[in-house]
């Protein structure tokens, strides 16, 4: 009797496992379609966002574009703040969210795994005002179809303490070959994607390596970037991924030179830290965020309403100013509280952004079009990053 019941429960467990596995591999239909037209709002939308992208006034009473959205559309907003691109990818896999503000190093992964659906831009009226430089880019489109609505962009700049770094740097050389000058006080962004910064520097300074795109590295090119970063590691004080930590490190002088975002430079200067951020002559890596819709979205109509809301001129200007980035909507520049905002962030300066290599997920198929070799993918970059940090 006992044996039978044990056998039965074992069988049940196996059946459950099979069912779970079957569910896992039941994603055969990956050619998700964009909706032709929108229906009524579902009364709710679940969002994954970077901190500061979906503010409801709880952090700063003046920063609230969630409540007006709820009032206008009747869609209640539930926001899940994610700290990293990797976290966004894993949250999207749960299928419980409708839309996500994905950066370029998450977007392609979400498209390939079938978690993000193509977006019918006709249904997002404000899409027509988006800067042309952000449309149909390799990190937000596939086969000529947009997989999201651009939100805004920024560049990873070189920041330094004006009192500690005597000669104003104009090259990434300051954090690579010349890093020893500030040994123990150099900082770098703590993510595998930072390997692209080294690749970009090598692309400009070592043409013999043949790097055409910092996100398309074959084995030898990756090894060269890793060697450069290992050398840099000796001079690193600490790596940063939390922007508050970076601000305090620069204010206290624990970091005196390294990568930054514009928003960090602004906040540090507001804190009276003598810092300056520049775009080095080699150009820079950068990030461009895209609002994507989940293929399993339970509230697609409200998600589309959110997409249109967040890139509408007024709201896009609010987000861009609060977070400290360039808005995606050209008309947003007329709406910012600080009339110089778009100039400071080079929002309409396409030549500035041509020098910015936006984060893209490295994949085996070389993104620079090389056919005769395979490139290193993000998993290899992750392993390399662990190795660099030792």
């Amino acid at each position: 009797m006992r044996k039978t019941s044990a056998g039965r429960s074992a069988a049940a467990a196996c059946a459950l496992l099979l069912a779970v596995t079957a569910c896992g591999s039941d994603d055969g239909d990956r050619a998700a379609k964009a909706p032709e037209k929108l229906g009524k709002g579902e009364g709710k939308v679940n969002i994954i966002a970077w901190a500061g992208y979906a503010e409801d006034g709880s952090n700063d009473p003046d920063a609230d574009w969630v409540h007006p959205f709820e009032k206008k559309t009747g869609c209640r907003v539930d926001t899940k703040v994610a700290g990293t691109s990797d976290e966004m990818v894993s949250l999207m896999k749960t299928g419980q969210y409708d839309t996500v503000s994905a950066s370029g190093d998450a977007t392609l992964r979400l498209i390939a795994s079938g978690d993000a659906a193509p977006v019918n831009t006709e249904l997002v009226p404000h899409y027509k005002d988006i800067f042309p430089g952000l449309k149909m880019r390799p990190f937000n489109s596939k086969d000529g179809r947009m997989y999201g609505i651009p939100h805004g962009r920024g560049a990873n700049l070189l920041m330094y303490r004006t009192d500690k770094v005597s000669a104003a740097p104009d090259s990434w050389r300051a954090v690579f070959e010349d890093a020893d000058a500030h040994s123990g006080h150099v900082t770098a962004y703590d993510s595998p994607i930072y390997i692209a910064d080294a690749a970009l520097y090598l692309m400009k300074t070592k043409p013999s390596l043949g790097i055409k795109d910092p996100y398309a590295l074959d084995r030898g090119q990756l090894d060269a970037a890793v060697a450069l970063l290992k050398k840099q590691h000796r001079a690193i004080g600490e790596y940063w991924s939390d922007y508050q930590k970076e601000i305090t490190a620069f204010r206290s002088g624990d970091s005196v030179i390294g990568t930054t975002w514009q928003v960090i430079a602004n906040l540090a200067q507001a804190d009276k830290a003598p810092v300056k951020a520049v775009m080095p002559k080699e150009g820079a890596t950068g990030w461009s965020d895209t609002w994507m819709v989940s293929t399993k979205a339970a509230h697609p109509n409200c998600a589309y309403k959110w997409l249109d809301w967040i890139v509408s001129p007024k709201v896009n200007a609010q987000v861009a100013e609060y977070f400290g980035e360039a808005p995606a909507n050209a008309k947003a520049c007329a709406e910012t509280a600080d009339p110089r905002h778009c100039a400071v962030y080079h929002a309409d300066d396409e030549s500035y952004y041509r020098r910015v290599h936006f984060w893209t997920t490295p994949i085996k198929q070389c993104l620079d079009g090389r056919e005769n070799t395979t490139c290193t993918d993000y998993a290899q970059w992750t392993r390399a990053w662990t190795e660099i940090k030792g």
């Binding site: 896992g24 992964r109 795994s113 006080h185 993000y378 940090k389």
Partner: protein
């Protein structure tokens, strides 16, 4: 079966504990017959089962179960691009773990830090606990104990960030040392050891204090009467008495240091420990993270086995 059920019938009252209520109101109800007693006994067993069931279920399903799932998933793999877990059986992760030099370096560094923290805590805790247990007057023991425990009430992150501020470039430590021409360790491995030793010190002091308090005064007096100096008494009486407690405390300091990844993020500078590697892999490559998690699990099991042989777990 009959004998035990009959017993309460003959002797109702205090032996049975709360169930037979008649004691407060004697004579209100007749003493329960054998059948009622059997029912009571069954009820007591059911109560015991109800009491122990949920925690046992929790322990086996939630605790051991999740550990088992974790270890099983170490044998899976992921799609390198989409990070989807692919459920095919492979030992690649373990192979990579054992053959990649960087993981060995990180594991060694983590273990060294855990050992250093444990040694520092042992060296600090022994005199402090001895003072509290044997030297300080009875009136002072309780305030001292509270003083040792108080830091445990403050948040972990608060304490770690406080150390970040202290150890910073223009922090208190550097400013104090500057007139002497010295400067603090800055962020790095040393800072991690110092902060972890600070964080886990109470876990070492408490068991040692309890052990030293139990040493009979007579033994120490006898040692002195027989002509032993303080060192000899320390070596032959105090240390043997404190040894199991030191080992028990070291289980806490060692395992807590081994699993830590937040302190190192806050004051570790560029230092990387096993916990950081697991944390950075967990969303991206769950099977690899699971394989990496096996390292601290194995290390702690080995440590516990070694400590158990030394008989320290008896005093936990």
């Amino acid at each position: 079966m009959r004998a035990p059920t009959a017993r309460p019938a003959q002797d109702p009252g205090p032996a049975e504990g709360p169930p037979p209520r008649p004691a407060p109101s004697p004579g209100a109800r007749p003493a329960p017959g054998p059948r009622a007693a059997a029912r009571l006994r069954l009820a007591a067993r059911l109560r015991l089962a109800a009491l122990l069931g949920p925690p046992l279920l929790w322990l086996t399903l939630a605790y051991l179960g999740s550990l088992a799932v974790l270890l099983v998933s170490a044998f899976w793999t992921t799609d390198s691009f989409t990070s989807d877990v692919v459920r095919t059986w492979t030992t690649d992760n373990l192979h990579e773990l054992l053959t990649t030099p960087v993981y060995r370096t990180i594991a060694l560094r983590t273990v060294s830090i855990a050992i250093a923290v444990t040694l520092i805590d042992a060296v600090l805790a022994l005199p402090m606990a001895f003072f509290m247990a044997r030297v300080a007057g009875r009136r002072w023991r309780r305030p001292l104990l509270v003083a040792v425990l108080t830091p445990l009430w403050a948040g972990y992150l608060v304490k770690a960030y406080a150390w970040r501020v202290m150890l910073g470039h223009d922090g208190v430590l550097n400013r104090t040392l500057a007139p002497l021409g010295l400067h603090g360790p800055g962020y790095g491995t040393t800072a991690v050891v110092v902060v972890l030793a600070y964080l886990w010190l109470p876990y070492m002091i408490l068991p040692v204090y309890a052990a030293l308090e139990r040493i009979p005064e007579r033994t120490l007096e006898a040692s002195a009467d027989l002509g032993a100096g303080p060192w000899r008494t320390l070596r032959s009486i105090v240390l043997p008495a404190a040894r199991p407690a030191l080992l028990a405390g070291s289980v806490f300091t060692f395992s807590l240091s081994l699993g830590d990844y937040l302190t190192v993020q806050i004051v570790g500078g560029k230092t990387q420990l096993i916990g950081n590697v697991i944390a950075s892999q967990v969303t991206l490559d769950l099977p690899m993270a699971a394989a990496l998690s096996a390292v601290p699990v194995v290390l702690i099991v080995c440590y516990l086995a070694a400590v158990r042989r030394a008989g320290a777990l008896d005093s936990l």
